[in-house]
């Protein structure tokens, strides 16, 4: 018996990066990566994951040259969505959400962004409120 295609249901599954409408940002709750959005311990976890799962294709230089300039002005959520749905290339989506956040912590550290007292979370709502900005 044929299954009838339910378009709406399927489309929700297929959300792409930046696919969900940009949420309204309230200025008083938005923080910057410059304020310290990850912990040093988290960056060390991220470094281990990076060397095992990312370094095969991405040298550190890939993330440190003009990376921040490209991503400046957008919330961390977008970057998180891109890497968590497309990477690693041969096994996309195969890391846990927190592992992707740990990798991002390491990438931010590579870029000279300061660590802080609170870990970077994998929660999209919280990531939405952290803005990527170039170093000053």
């Amino acid at each position: 018996m044929p299954h009838h295609v339910v378009k709406a249901t399927f489309l929700i599954v297929g959300l792409q990066w930046l696919g969900s409408p940009a949420r309204a940002q309230s200025p008083d709750t938005t923080t910057s990566l410059r304020d310290g959005a990850y912990t040093e311990q988290q960056a060390r976890r991220g470094e281990r994951i990076y060397s095992e799962r990312c370094a095969e294709c991405h040298a550190r230089e890939f993330f440190t040259e003009t990376f921040l300039l490209s991503w400046s002005g957008v919330p961390v959520r977008l970057l998180f969505e891109v890497i968590s749905t497309s990477m690693p290339e041969d096994r996309p989506g195969s890391l846990k959400g927190q592992q992707y956040a740990d990798v991002l912590a390491y990438v931010f550290e590579m870029n000279g962004l300061p660590s802080g007292s609170r870990e970077l979370s994998a929660d999209p709502d919280r990531l939405e409120r952290i803005l990527i900005e170039r170093r000053q």
Binding site: H3, L11, G14, Q16, A22, C57, E65, R91, P92
Partner: protein
Amino acid sequence: MVSTLRQAIGFAVCTLALGFQPLQAQHEGTANGEWRYWGGDEGSSRYAPLDQIDATNVATLEVAWRWKAANYGPEPDFIYRATPLMVNGTLYTVAGQRRAVVAIDPATGETLWMWRMRENPRWEASTRKNYGKAVAFAEVDGRGVIYTITPGYYLAALDAETGQPIPRFGLNGIVDLHLGLGDYAVHPDSGVLAFGDITASSPPIVVNGVIVVGNSHDRGYYPNKRENIPGHVRGYDARTGMLRWTFHVVPLPGEFGNDTWEDDSWSYTGNVSSWAPLSADSQRGLVFIPTDTPTNDYYGGERPGMNLYGTSLIALNAATGERVWHFQLVHHDVWNYDNPNAPKVVDVTVDGRLVPMVIETTKQGWAYVFNRETGEPVWPIEERPVAQSDLPNERTWPTQPHVTRPAAFELQGITDDDLIDFTPELRALALELAHQYRMGPLFTPPSLADAADGTKGTFVVPGANGGANIPGGSSVDPETGVLYVATERGHSVISLVPGPQRESTAEFVSTGPGGIRGPMALELLKPPYGSIVAIDLSTGDHLWRIPNGDTPASLTNHPALRGVELPTTGKRSHADILTTRSLLFYGEGRRGDPWLHAVDKRSGEEIARIALPATTNTALMTYMFHGTQYIVTAVAGPGVEAELVALRLPQ
């Protein structure tokens, strides 16, 4: 030097007397409603002359069955690049990290049998676990045989009815493809290669009783050494598994082309694999081999010379492995322009003469069209001077072949005009970003991450993911002589650093194949980001171009683009295409939306779109079974485990 210069002029033809006879058009897509090869037919047309599903009813397509691949491996996959075969009323495909071979009922999706090889630790060491694109089929002594290459690089022959290995083939159905590769050390306990790597990511192809086996390697963006195993092509007896011949893609001393590897670089350079699927013309006894870049994708200073047969299209006599002709598409390749697509075999009338063609669609944005009997380009391919490298010890080749017709189907090279200009602010930022790297035309050579002129690397446009590429690639319609190419506007930025900086003994390696994003995480280049281009092979003219789907939500919802009128950009993703008698079907590919589009193949006009459970991941296929036409696609995506989806009209 004289001989290599002569080769540089263009095509090189080896005049082996194969006794070619004038032939009528034989390559007409799939036959009898079957889909016997990865690409439909042996010429990889991806064309089926079926028309039960047409413009009047395609909008009513519904899901007939879904087949879950998730349990055919140690853990579910979220990527699935396999295309089933349909032969004698059964579907055959591969699934999962161990590349399990499965037979499936074409009407219901029921699994009929499964076979997989227990091959740890060769499997553990494989650099291509999840890339089996399909199996191969042949009839031997009146019985169907399925051939597969495992991730650990074994060739297996299975009874198509039962899935059981065929005892008389190799050793109980298995041939170890490490054997005969050359004098490479192997760990005595594990059987894993102690030096270099080689495996396969595509099926073999069977031509007149010979199984032609290609291969694949790990990524070559920044190898840990300049040395690797060359991807020699081999032919095996389809009945016994005995090795019939070996063709050296890096020629040995005394063989044609060895002198294109200066300073003895032939003796240690590897890769030059044929990782894309192969195609054949069994009537002419030819197999067509598209090859990869030699070791170290972006630095050739340790392999001086033209480097035959790197980045070439080679026509071999399938019975003997002898070279009939070859054409090197890129000399001394340092752009990673390895050939990504199965060559297309088709007969088309040009200027009143029926031309037996073979076509390679490429990352660099050109379709190279040859007479497949002689290797002569159908339209001139001209050697033109190109920019030269300023890297230590790198001697890039002074000229490169430039296709004069058909026109390129993708943007080639980069100038300021190619950068986004949606708003003045975005434009300014895009210029600031791009000007930190070297920009130039196609074949601008890679440069250092800290070059003396202050630049951080060089744009390669199209880049590693651009142009035509791995998934769907292209389809050719033998009834109309139209080529359809799926292309993506991708670029790379190649920055080279000393090898030791990346734990490599190679002199220089790249920092990766990636490009850079534009400002606010937008694309750096102007749209269209993904397209399907129709090219008339009788004239070389482009007929139409359509975007790969709609403008993505990432653009329409982008805060920096509010109020900006956007064109339909398509997705930056390779469309997965299939052509039938009146329709062209395409899925948007992994970075697209989960639609199957049906298009009037004459005009490119969209007729219908059908929702899928997830985005298509690779080339589609179609077949007739018990009077019903089915379209099958592999889908997977974020949070959606790999599966096959079969569509048909309401019953």
